[in-house]
């Protein structure tokens, strides 16, 4: 609820060039990316379209950098009232909610194929008749190792883990260690936040270094995981619905971890520059919320993609 005194000081910024040129940058980026994909599909050269996408992305990145710098400068200059700061808080919360719904679409797809469409293709239930007619040989399993039509979608190799759920199994199970790394990073990030509130800058920087390192370790482990999936198990984007859901869920999660790590690196650099006060550090908190959010998504992934 708005309070009278802060309302009168709400800072409405003057004209800004950032939004318009950021739109140009984003439009060039996606137009270039579309051209790259269509050039590859048509077998033609991707040079022009690549330059278009890179130019657009550089414009966008430069503008976003300056835009955020302006916002930080305004805050340091004391122009942001408490009420304005609440607007940023609401903005970040609802942005994270939109990200939750983005992942919900992919989790929904996973649940649908596992619980409904793959069993139907295998002949189960009232809708199983279509599966019986189309591919009578097809057996519904999860992970799906033999596709309904193996000529169109190449089957993964045999020998995907049979999970035994023992301590020794988890000790050698990469996704388990990835979970440990990511949960630990959320805890260390919390320690950094505590240090920030206690005005202990040295400890803040130390914990931020640890958190960023854990984020990078997670990404390296995820690359190893992908190499094993592609090389050893033959699970690819083209290997049917198991690979599709696996790579899209973990891939978008990995992309979000990359973004989150980048945010944390920026927060680390800002900590080193002496930014953030114990009572005024929403940039830090926003990045931390985002990091905890990707952590929660991973827990969902670990349960529904890896364990069950």
């Amino acid at each position: 609820m708005a309070s009278g005194s802060s309302q009168s000081a709400y800072y409405v910024p003057e004209q800004s060039k950032y939004p318009f040129f950021a739109s140009i940058g984003l439009a060039l980026t996606v137009f270039g990316m579309g051209n790259i994909l269509n050039d590859i599909a048509a077998g033609s050269s991707v040079t022009t379209s690549t330059w278009m996408a890179i130019t657009g992305f550089l414009i966008l990145a430069t503008i976003l950098f300056n835009w955020f710098a302006t916002v930080i400068r305004e805050n340091h200059a004391g122009m942001n009232s408490d009420q304005l700061k609440r607007s940023y808080v609401w903005g970040m919360m609802w942005f994270i909610f939109s990200e939750v719904m983005f992942f919900a679409a992919f989790f929904g797809a996973l649940f649908y194929v596992r619980q409904l469409s793959v069993p139907w293709l295998g002949g189960e239930g009232a809708k199983g008749i279509a599966g019986d007619v189309l591919w009578p040989e097809f057996q519904a399993t999860w992970p799906l190792l033999v596709n309904p039509d193996s000529n169109v979608f190449v089957n993964p190799h045999d020998g995907l883990h049979v999970k035994e759920w023992s301590a020794s199994f988890f000790a050698g199970y990469l996704p388990f260690w990835n979970t440990v790394v990511l949960i630990t990073s959320s805890v260390t990030l919390h320690f950094a936040h505590v240090a920030l509130k206690a005005e202990n800058r040295a400890r803040l920087i130390q914990w931020m270094l640890v958190t960023v390192s854990l984020g990078l370790i997670f990404l390296v482990l995820q690359v190893l995981e992908y190499r094993e999936a592609y090389g050893h198990y033959g699970i690819t984007l083209n290997s049917g619905i198991y690979g599709s859901t696996f790579f899209m869920l973990t891939g978008f999660h990995g992309f979000h971890v990359t973004l989150g790590t980048f945010m944390l690196i920026v927060m680390l650099l800002r900590s080193m520059k002496g930014h953030f006060k114990p009572d005024d550090h929403f940039g830090f908190e926003a990045a931390a919320w985002y990091w905890h959010f990707v952590d929660v998504v991973w827990i969902g992934l670990f349960i529904f993609v890896y364990c069950l």
Binding site: A2, G4, Q7, S8, Y10, V12, Q15, S16, K17, Y18, P19, F20, S23, I24, A27, V30, F31, G34, L37, N38, I40, A41, W67, T70, E74, H76, A77, S87, W90, G91, W94, F95, S98, M101, F102, A104, A105, G108, A109, Y112, V113, L116, S117, L121, G125, A126, K127, L134, N147, P148, D149, V152, F153, T236, L237, I241, Y242, S244, T245, M248
Partner: protein, 533 residues
């Protein structure tokens, strides 16, 4: 922009807009951005309308006369996409920008720069989308619902650009909605409690929530399409264990709340206009709020009524049928309240009121056909016929679009400072009203008789209703040029508008001068001005 420069600006709020084109490119003012949205929306309305007239011209008589079937498919697709994402949604966002800060006594939207970004993404996104029509293989030709595998396996190469355009539009909608929510939750003037907010503000708060919840799902589903097309995934291909029906579930999980995104703000507009011209308080304000929230909740659990014929377990059919019918209850509450507001009111019939009353009557008709379509066994007959076309055009054109026109006439004096030409406004209303009914009413009969939608040619027995519909289409389409003329005339001058404009108008926006100054409510309004609705 240096920090010192911005500080000096912050202390100098009492100047007008910047000069020249850059005022519009770089603006952070909610009124400027509102106007940009409204003009963009009207441009798209004319473009999408032109596509509709191509369709109606082709369907004027049986046989193929003007265009190839392949191009006809692009017309139905682009007409739908442009009207939904380019005309109706931006119009409501434009109204939200203009009105929400004025209605809640806020100096501007909560995040003004991001507000400008939300707008400027749209012209670029639509340039990319419309440009697909000039690409090799033509533009999107799979209907605005872009069902897989038509939009994946059998799609033209330009689909890649369509997908990215949808991504950019989605980003614009999400940022716009975040701004609306932050504004309403954080920027209300002292004394403006939730249950004193005008219903337009309430309906937009709920709409913004729906948008943030479902636009990311749309982004997800087009991303799956992109990967199916270019990276070999099999989300929508049964040969790899996926399912084309999965596309429909994901699309309509977005699509059904999207339908309410296009109608809830209309409810808010009509709830503002009818009390003004009935000179009574709105009947049942609280129940209006709860009905809106109920409709929003129900919108998440009814999506599969769009796909009864695709085959789903019986329990699913029954659940989605009953859940859909349940929506008639809160919607009925709303219609009852509007009628009860008019009951024994001192009514006058200026143009905004005419559009609002037409909304109540014709939207209710669209609602009734909606209940018919919700009945699963009946839907097996109606599915993909012109009955469906008639149904959703009744809720969208004399529903959503009429409410936007009502809003334009109602608040135009506040925006421009001049009264619009009432005679021309009434002419516009009556031609639109007659045109829209000639256009869409016969389509009910066509659909019940079995004419399928999205076809360029039809059997001879459908000829009479089709030419009537086409005549109505051209009448309605060209009548909209009157609106353009009235708006331009009103901007250029006319009878001066008073601050309150309408005798019965209530609310903070009517306490500021007409035209509303460039900056309003830099200090909060007197709490005594805030009344219960």
């Amino acid at each position: 922009m240096s920090a010192t420069h911005t500080i000096s600006d912050a202390h100098d709020h009492h100047h007008g807009p910047a000069k020249g084109l850059t005022r519009w490119l770089y603006t952070t003012n909610h009124k400027d951005i509102g106007s940009l949205y409204l003009w963009f929306s009207f441009t798209m309305f004319l473009l999408g309308g032109a596509f509709a007239l191509v369709i109606r011209a082709e369907l004027f008589q049986p046989g193929l006369q003007f265009i190839e079937p392949a191009f006809f498919n692009q017309m139905t697709t682009m007409h739908g996409l442009i009207m939904v994402f380019g005309a109706v949604m931006p119009a409501f966002v434009g109204l939200a920008n203009w009105l929400i800060p004025l209605m809640i006594g806020a100096p501007d939207m909560a995040l003004p720069r991001m507000n400008n970004w939300s707008f400027w993404l749209l012209p670029f996104a639509f340039t990319i989308m419309v440009s697909t029509m000039f690409m090799e293989g033509g533009g999107p030709n799979f209907g605005w619902t872009f069902y897989a595998p038509l939009s994946t396996t059998y799609a033209p190469p330009s689909t890649t650009f369509f997908i990215f355009a949808v991504h950019v539009m989605g980003a614009s909608s999400i940022m716009g909605s975040i701004n609306v929510i932050a504004t309403i939750l954080n920027m209300r003037a002292p004394g403006m409690t939730f249950m004193k907010m005008p219903l337009f503000v309430w309906t937009w708060l709920i709409t913004a929530y729906l948008l943030i919840a479902v636009m990311p799902v749309l982004a997800g589903v087009v991303t799956m399409m992109l990967f199916d097309i270019h990276f070999g995934t099999s989300f929508f291909n049964a040969a790899g264990g996926g399912d084309p029906v999965l596309f429909q579930h994901l699309f309509w999980f977005f699509g059904h709340p999207e339908v309410y995104i296009m109608i809830l703000p209309a409810f808010g507009i009509v709830s503002a206009i009818i009390p003004t011209f009935a000179r009574k308080r709105l009947f049942g304000y609280d129940s209006m709020v709860y009905a809106t929230a109920s409709i929003a909740f129900l919108s998440f659990i009814v999506w599969a009524h769009h796909m009864f014929t695709v085959g789903m377990p019986l329990a699913g059919q029954l659940f989605f049928m009953y859940a859909t019918m349940l929506i008639a209850v809160p919607t009925g509450v709303k219609v009852f309240n509007w009628v009860a507001t008019m009951f024994r009111g001192a009514m006058t019939f200026e143009t905004p009121m005419l559009f609002a009353i037409a909304f109540v009557v014709l939207f209710t008709m669209g609602g009734f056909t909606g209940v018919m379509l919700a009945i699963t066994p009946a839907d097996f007959q109606y599915h993909d016929t012109y009955f469906v076309v008639a149904h959703f055009h009744y809720v969208l054109v004399p529903g959503a679009v009429f409410s936007i026109m009502a809003a334009a006439y109602y608040w135009l004096p506040k925006w421009t400072g001049y009264m619009y030409d009432e005679t021309l406004g009434k002419l516009h209303f009556w031609l639109s009203f007659i045109g829209v009914n000639l256009l869409f009413f016969p389509q009910h009969f066509l659909g019940l008789a079995g004419m399928p939608r999205r076809i360029p040619d039809y059997a001879l027995q459908f000829a009479n209703f089709n030419w009537i519909s086409s005549v109505g289409g051209f009448l309605f389409g060209f009548s909209q040029l009157i609106l353009l003329f009235v708006v331009i005339k009103c901007i250029r001058g006319g009878k001066k508008a008073t601050d309150q404009v309408w005798e019965g108008a209530q609310g903070l926006e009517w306490t500021v001068p007409s035209p509303a100054p460039y900056h309003t409510f830099e200090t909060p309004p007197d709490p005594k001005l805030i009344h219960a609705q």
